[in-house]
Symmetry: C2
Subunit: 216 residues, 2 copies
C-alpha cells in the first residue's frame, strides 16, 4: 500500500519552542519524518511524501533517510491536499494510508495493527481528538483535519454509511507537538528521534506529576 | 485472575480542580472506579479494591456498581500496599493484576490484550511515564510508583532478569488526571464516566491546538 506522509518545513513543531530552537525544531521534525518513513517501509508499504513546496533535504538527506522517497507537491492546506490523494481510490488503487510525520513512537507492529483493523476506513486517533493515521478504502470518504478531526471523521463516516475500524495504539496516538510529548519519545522511542533528543541534552524531568523534560 | 484496583477517597483527582468541585471530583472518581470494576468483570476477572481506609460508598453504591467487591484495607502508601498484594504470588496464586481506578477509557478488549501480552510482568504504560496496569507472575518483582515508574519498573525487571511484556494501548495509557484528559473521556469513553461528564456540562472545546474541555 502507498502510505502518504504529509510534511511541511514551514515553522515546524512551533509548540516545541520552549525547549528547542527553530533550527533544532526543523532538524528534529526531519528526524521524526525519517523514522516514520522507515516504519512504513519496515511494515511492508511504500512511503510517499506530501509537501506544500519542494524541500531540499540537502545534506540531511542521508541522515534522515528520506532521499529517493516519491514526493507529491500540493500547495493547498492539509485537508484538500489529502483529499486529492484520496481521489486516487477507485482508479485501480484499493487503499491508501495517510500517516502523520511526527509519530515518533510508531513501530511497524503498530502500523500493521492499523492496516489489519478492518473497516472501509481504519483510524488511529491522536491525543486531543486528532487523526494520526488513516487507511482509506472507500472513495467517498473525505478528510477534515480541522478541530476534533477524530470525532468529525467518525461522524462523517457514520452519516455516509462508511464502516470504521479504530486501532487502540498508544504509539500511534502519540503525535509529538508539545514539550511533554518529548518525554514519551525518551521513554518509548526506539528510532533516531530518541537519540537526537538525547544528543540535544533533552532529558526526563520526574519532579512533577507526570514526567516532563528539561535540558541538561 | 484477581485484579486489584487501588483507590482512595482522599482529595481525589485534585488536578481536575479547575473544572470540577471537590464533591464533583469525588463523585467522578467513584464513577470511573465503577467503570474499571465493570471492565475487570467483563474481561472475566475478579475485581478487588485496595483502599487506605474503609470507604462508605453509601447510596452511591448501587450507582457506581462497586457494592460487594472484595476490599483490602492497607493504610500504607501505594507502593508498599501493592507490594503486599504481590506477596500473595507463590502462595498458590500464579498471577495478579493491578489496575488503576482512573482508566476511564479501559475496555475488556484492552485489558485482555494486557493479560495476553506475555512476560513474567505485563505492563500497560501510562502517559508521562506512569504504570497504569500490571499483570505480575513473578514473586520477586516489586513495584515503585514514584516518579517515572514505567522506566523504573522496566529497569528493575531487567536487573532482576524478569521478562517484561508491554501492551501498546491508548485506552490503558490514558489515566484521567488533568482537565485535558476529560476530552479523551468525551471522545473515546463508553462507560458511565462519559455520561457523568456530559450530565455535568463538560464539553469538548476545539478552539485550541489539541481539543480540551470547557463547562457549558
Amino acid at each position: 500500500m502507498r502510505v502518504v506522509i504529509p510534511y511541511t518545513d514551514r515553522d515546524p513543531k512551533s509548540r516545541l519552542a520552549p525547549v528547542l530552537s527553530e533550527p533544532e525544531r526543523r532538524a528534529f521534525a526531519r528526524v521524526m519524518l525519517g523514522d516514520v518513513v522507515a516504519v512504513v517501509r519496515d511494515a511492508g508499504h511504500e512511503p510517499e511524501l506530501l509537501v506544500p513546496a519542494p524541500i531540499d533535504f540537502a545534506d540531511a538527506d542521508t541522515a534522515v533517510g528520506v532521499d529517493g522517497v516519491p514526493t507529491t507537491v500540493d500547495d493547498r492546506a492539509l485537508t484538500p491536499a489529502v483529499d486529492a490523494v484520496l481521489d486516487r481510490l477507485g482508479e485501480g488503487v484499493a487503499e491508501v494510508g495517510i500517516v502523520m510525520a511526527d509519530l515518533a513512537l510508531a513501530t511497524p507492529a503498530a502500523l500493521r495493527r492499523l492496516t489489519a483493523v478492518g473497516g472501509e476506513v481504519g483510524i488511529a486517533p491522536g491525543r486531543g481528538g486528532g487523526t494520526n493515521a488513516l487507511v482509506v478504502r472507500e472513495p467517498s470518504f473525505s478528510v477534515d483535519y480541522h478541530g476534533a478531526s477524530y470525532r468529525d471523521h467518525r461522524e462523517a463516516a457514520a452519516t455516509a454509511g462508511v464502516s470504521v475500524g479504530v486501532v487502540d495504539s498508544m504509539r500511534l496516538a502519540t503525535d509529538i507537538d508539545e514539550p511533554a510529548d518529548l518525554a514519551e519519545v525518551l521513554l518509548h522511542g526506539d528510532g533516531r528521534a530518541r537519540g537526537w533528543l538525547v544528543d540535544a541534552g533533552v532529558e526526563l524531568d520526574a519532579s512533577g506529576g507526570r514526567v516532563g523534560v528539561r535540558r541538561g
